[in-house]
């Protein structure tokens, strides 16, 4: 993790690693930022989610006094939600929703939100915070998915060979950061040779508080219907009478 932080923030960082959580501040080329996230492909528990939401709330409060909302760089490394009866009983999704509300509060307080996917981002763990940022970037080798193809074949009762063949042409179901990029769910794919601090500066500068992902998916050709359908419902121009 420190290797990653050193490379992202050559001007310095002060990030505390506490178990699978990390939180702190760093200096980007555009100025100081908060850094909040998870590491080591964490299975998100209610405890991890509470630490994340606490870090977001603290960031918002810290910056209220100065009147300068520093950007928040989320580092998402998660294999998804923790699978446990206790966590389900406690309504883990309620903890994730609380975290999502905190992230949204930060956005409305003027914090620019950028997510960097490191290692892996899966399903519920990705929904809880990483996917809510204004700008979502995948680091090299990042895996992004809901479920691997073998499990998907089992649940949908579709032959794995058929899914694998379809995955060659369709970005719609198969794992892969590239697929999410084509669908507008990921804004940028970073490669190893890139200047990461410059890439991060660009992400911080280009992020705005609106959700443009459906338009992005349409323009990249990977998700051609979502924007048009949502717009039709929003505009209400075609009542089905």
């Amino acid at each position: 993790m420190n290797t990653l932080l050193d490379r992202l923030f050559p001007a310095g960082h002060d990030v505390t690693i506490d178990g699978l959580n990390l939180a702190g501040t760093a200096h980007s080329a555009t100025g100081p930022v908060h850094v909040i996230g998870t590491r080591d492909r964490a299975a998100l528990t209610s405890d991890i989610a509470l630490r994340l939401s606490q870090a977001v709330l603290s960031a918002v409060r810290d910056d209220l006094a100065s009147g300068r909302a520093r950007p928040i760089v989320f580092i998402a490394s998660t294999q998804g939600q923790a699978l446990s009866r206790h966590e389900e009983l406690m309504c883990l999704n309620g903890y994730f929703a609380h975290l999502a509300r905190c992230v949204d509060l930060a956005r409305r307080h003027g914090h620019v939100l950028v997510t960097l996917i490191h290692g892996e981002a899966v399903s519920g763990g990705f929904l809880a915070f990483g996917l809510l940022a204004d700008r979502i970037c995948a680091l090299p080798c990042a895996q992004v998915k809901v479920m691997d193809l073998r499990a998907m074949a089992r649940v949908t009762r579709i032959a794995p060979e058929r899914l694998e063949a379809l995955a060659q042409t369709s970005p719609v179901f198969a794992p892969g950061a590239e697929n999410y990029w084509r669908m507008g769910g990921i804004h940028d794919l970073w490669s190893d040779g890139d200047d990461w601090p410059a890439q991060l500066s660009r992400a911080l500068t280009e992020a705005d508080g609106s959700d443009h992902r459906a338009a992005l998916g349409a323009s990249r050709g990977g998700r051609t219907l979502a924007r048009a359908v949502a717009t039709r419902v929003m505009a209400g121009s075609t009542p089905d009478a």
């Binding site: 209610s46 009866r85 999704n93 309620g94 379809l166 039709r232 209400g236 075609t238």
Partner: protein, 300 residues
């Protein structure tokens, strides 16, 4: 009581349109992007699977006691109410419409296992967009209320969406969670969670334990009229507080709850820890009797 029993119409058994008609004022519902527009999923068609003309979700405008509302209902029987590209876009559009047109509320009748695996990436992004749109409607001052009482409950990403709502109405038959019991059993083993033990499943994810923990705002009987009554009650309450102080309070409450029930593995553990009388019998009570016990415990 008997008159009520005679007129009772099950929410659990009803389909999405029947639920909407049971919720809103008679004749007031007007559907947006309805089945005649034939917005069917091309992703299911590619896999040679049946499609539905509404892609498993009904959205539109209506009134509730004369007040303009927006309403959406998922069709649990179609692919488990799962969220694909079009399904998700319809719900997202509804919430964007709420942000722009400021109805009195949005009602979401959730009945979904979450992301539709046949279009998993589109579904995951769609749920994220739906989450942002829901938060956008709330920020614009429009309360969003969820209703859960169908066979699929609210799981996966839709379990998160449900908890983003300003209030949740559940029946005992409704279930709310993140990972379904079958998933946990498959990965962690039957000793962790026996998905065939239906009573246990309901004690972990059902309406009564959710009402006990405050995750559900109201518990109602499995009846269209009861859900309508619950929706009217939530509308009358007005939107809850928002902002930093409210989220700080939620943070403290969630942390305290996690600590208090750190070892709980069954709804019974929680009911006993709260000192509720005859925890084993709570499962037998109807919604009114159960609500009275929880209300007393909360004020105690």
């Amino acid at each position: 009581m008997s008159a009520h029993a005679i007129t009772r119409r099950s929410w659990f058994e009803a389909d999405a349109r029947t639920r909407i008609h049971g919720l809103v004022d008679a004749g007031s519902f007007s559907e947006l992007c309805g089945p005649h527009e034939r917005l069917t999923s091309p992703h299911l068609a590619v896999l040679d699977l049946p499609v539905a003309f509404d892609d498993g979700v009904v959205v539109g405008e209506a009134t509730l006691d004369g007040e303009r509302i927006l309403v959406g209902a998922q069709q649990g029987e179609f692919n488990g109410g799962s969220v694909g590209e079009i399904h998700g876009a319809k719900l997202r559009g509804l919430l964007d419409r709420a942000r722009d047109t400021r109805p009195a509320a949005v009602l979401l009748a959730i009945d979904s296992g979450g992301v539709r695996l046949h279009e998993a990436n589109a579904g995951l992004i769609a749920i994220s967009e739906l989450m942002r749109a829901l938060l956008g409607a709330r920020a614009a001052g429009v309360p969003v209320y969820g209703l859960i009482g169908g066979s699929c409950g609210a799981f996966g990403g839709m379990g998160i969406v449900a908890r983003l709502c300003d209030g949740l109405i559940m029946s005992e038959e409704g279930r709310l969670g993140l990972s379904g019991p079958e998933v946990i059993e498959t990965v962690k083993g039957v000793d962790e969670f026996d998905s065939k033990d239906r009573a246990l499943v309901w004690r972990i994810t059902g309406g009564k334990i959710r009402r006990t923990l405050g995750e559900a705002t109201l518990l109602v009987d499995d009846d269209l009229g009861a859900f309508r009554g619950g929706a009217k009650a939530l509308l009358a309450r007005g939107a809850p507080l928002r902002g930093l102080a409210a989220l700080d309070a939620d943070q403290a409450a969630l942390a305290a709850r996690a600590q208090r029930h750190a070892d709980a593995r069954d709804g019974l553990d929680i009911w006993r820890a709260l000192g509720l009388p005859d925890a084993e019998r709570l499962a037998m009570l109807d919604a009114d009797a159960f609500n009275r016990i929880i209300d007393r415990a909360e004020t105690a």
